[in-house]
């Protein structure tokens, strides 16, 4: 049974629909990411779960109980805000202790749990620091400790890492994942960083304009994107116009000079999507010319001008010779590496 369930949740601000028909069930201990561009309704959805906003429609249930009927102060969720929202007049320890105080945890136990929580996020010894005297990463950890110390049923994280620099963000991602694995708290992370979503989550909810585009494991959403939006949003992709010709035997899928036996299903004009790292240089396939060649350490990035429009190719730097700029090449790929959707018009 689903632990946390959102059932056709909707939110309108005036005439504007910000979240629409949002259904999701989250298993206990699962790590879910809401991924989508700015303004797509991620924060709004999270705030409805937290109770700071009331849904205009639908239901939110936690362990089968209606969550919207419970006051936000009584929901027992742990929340890390994008701005951290630490209490600046309290020390790190006082910040973390606040939730325990509200629960009337006895002083001794409180001190012990605060100490353990701060140690868990790597801040042992910072008990008496005030937030404004801590770095962004340290403040972020205090916020995390403050949310976790109350043993929340669900942990809600609203872009907690977006204020950190790239290196620190990566470290915190690893730490966050480890902490979540260790204590097994059901977690929902809001982010617009696809790498963050992919490296942290069990499942990703890709959103666009208040609607769910796809729910799936990171691999699923990356390799079998359900829509053009998902494939564009999750990493780079190449879209080529192709046609499925069912009059030929066997049926053929043709994109420029590349062709393969057509899979069952679609027919007529289609769009073919292939990830750049799945395209290789071969003797047959799409005619293309290398426009630029960029060396990026462990891989090469090629921007090509193909007969089906611009294309990006990524090749591992495995020591083999790579084509030079201006060289003519043929682009080829395995049919199982691409995804296809119907294309309007001919």
């Amino acid at each position: 049974m689903a632990y946390l369930e959102l059932d056709r949740v909707a939110k309108q601000f005036g005439a504007q629909t910000v979240v629409d028909d949002f259904s999701l069930s989250v298993g206990k201990g699962e790590f879910i990411s809401f991924l989508g561009p700015s303004g797509c309704g991620k924060t709004t959805t999270l705030q409805m779960i937290a109770g700071f906003l009331d849904p205009s429609g639908g239901a939110i249930r936690l362990e089968g109980k209606d969550l919207t009927a419970i006051h936000p102060a009584k929901r027992g969720l742990g929340i890390v805000f994008q701005s951290y929202a630490l209490f600046p007049h309290m020390t790190a320890a006082e910040n973390v202790a606040f939730g325990l105080e509200m629960r009337n945890v006895p002083r001794n136990e409180r001190a012990e749990r605060v100490r353990a929580a701060l140690a868990m996020v790597g801040l042992a010894g910072f008990e008496d620091r005030h937030p404004r005297r801590m770095s962004g990463g340290q403040q972020q950890r205090v916020a995390l400790a403050r949310a976790l110390v109350i043993k929340p049923s669900v942990l809600l994280l609203d872009e907690p890492l977006s204020n950190l620099d790239a290196k620190l963000r990566e470290e915190m991602q690893i730490e966050l994942r480890q902490i979540q694995r260790t204590i097994g708290t059901t977690t929902i992370l809001v982010t617009h960083d696809q790498n963050e979503a992919m490296s942290l989550s069990d499942r990703i909810v890709v959103m666009s304009q208040g609607k769910i585009e796809q729910i799936g494991t990171p691999q699923e959403t990356y390799e079998r994107p359900a829509s053009a939006f998902v494939s564009q949003f999750l990493g780079k992709t190449n879209d080529f116009a192709g046609t499925i010709d069912r009059t030929a035997t066997p049926a053929q899928l043709v994109a420029g000079s590349w062709s393969a036996p057509a899979p069952a299903g679609l027919s007529g004009p289609v769009t073919v999507s292939i990830r750049p790292e799945r395209i290789g240089f071969g003797d047959a396939g799409l005619h293309a010319k290398i426009v630029t060649r960029i060396f990026q350490g462990n891989h090469w990035l090629f921007q090509c001008d193909s007969e089906c429009g611009p294309a990006i190719v990524i090749r591992q730097n495995d020591g083999t010779a790579q084509p030079a700029e201006g060289e003519s090449v043929r682009l080829t790929w395995h049919p199982q590496d691409m995804s296809m959707r119907a294309r309007a018009g001919a």
Binding site: A73, R75, L77, F81, F87, M102, H130
Partner: protein
């Protein structure tokens, strides 16, 4: 850069600020120094001001209990006014801050609007409402039989505190408002998610953070109230004097300028000490919130 250019650029700030600096020295520092000097001069009913150096005026202020009472009253009124504005102004600012956009700007205008009206006009309003038997409110209440004699307002300390608080309220509201603007917009939600109720949120989270704003507002209100002239002059007249009206009387009615100068100097020194002292205390106490 050449020496000449360096010299020129070093002189530039001085040259540019010179006009303002001269005005500042001319209309503030020189008169102030002259006032201090004046307080050491002698004065007699018939001989007028004698430019000698004596401590007569200071001695009089230090020994005559009349002056002690006067200053004590001045600061009592200023403190009560400050308390009243803080008690009313802080919640007012908080409520204002929680209002929706349109109402917020409307009520902000209502609060700040009085600043555009002269203090004299605002205080006279109180006099019109409560002034003796003819005051509008007193008249109404008496004819309705609610009270038998007029509510004492004019020539009372209570009246002065109420009228001053009315005049000073915008300063307190603005000061607290500024502190509220610095609050993280999610801070109340954060406290709520940890299980805090509305009262706890205000007491434990909001109050400590806006306290510096309340205190700096208090400093402004206190110093303006202690040195206020128009309101005490209208409400208290010559019957209930405070330091500012006393100095004025010495200057313009008794014509004892040196004594008036001594009163004015003492008021200034006392205020500067109190303001600087409490400011230092506040900054130390709230170092964490101010940073």
């Amino acid at each position: 850069m050449s020496m000449a250019a360096e010299e020129r650029s070093a002189r530039a700030p001085w040259a540019l600020t010179a006009p303002a600096l001269m005005l500042f020295v001319g209309v503030l520092l020189i008169p102030l120094a002259m006032t201090v000097m004046l307080s050491f001069h002698d004065w007699g009913q018939y001989k007028g001001i004698e430019p000698v150096f004596i401590l007569k005026n200071w001695h009089e202020i230090a020994t005559d209990p009349y002056y002690a009472e006067m200053f004590w009253r001045t600061f009592r009124i200023a403190i009560l006014t400050t308390l009243l504005t803080a008690l009313l102004g802080a919640p007012e600012a908080y409520i204002l801050n929680r209002m929706d956009g349109r109402w917020k700007s409307f009520f902000l205008l209502v609060i700040l609007g009085p600043l555009l009206i002269s203090v004299v006009a605002r205080t006279l309003g109180w006099a019109l409402l409560f002034g003796g038997n003819n005051g509008l409110v007193n008249k109404l209440l008496m004819s309705a039989g609610v009270i038998r004699s007029p509510i004492p307002f004019m020539f009372t300390e209570t009246g002065m505190v109420v009228a001053l608080a009315h005049v000073m309220m915008p300063f307190m509201v603005l000061s607290v408002w500024a502190a509220l603007q610095r609050l993280d917009p999610q801070i109340e939600n954060a406290a709520m998610s940890l299980g805090a109720g509305p009262v706890t949120i205000i007491r434990r989270i909001i109050m400590p953070q806006i306290m510096p704003g309340v205190l700096s507002g208090a400093i402004i209100v206190f110093s303006l109230s202690a040195s206020a002239f128009a309101t005490p002059a209208i409400i208290g007249g010559r019957r209930l004097k405070v330091a500012a009206t006393l100095a004025y009387d010495e200057f313009l009615n008794t014509l004892n300028w040196p004594l008036g100068a001594a009163v004015a100097t003492l008021l200034l020194v006392a205020l500067v000490l109190i303001v600087v002292g409490s400011n230092a205390l506040i900054e130390r106490r709230y170092a964490e919130v101010f940073r």
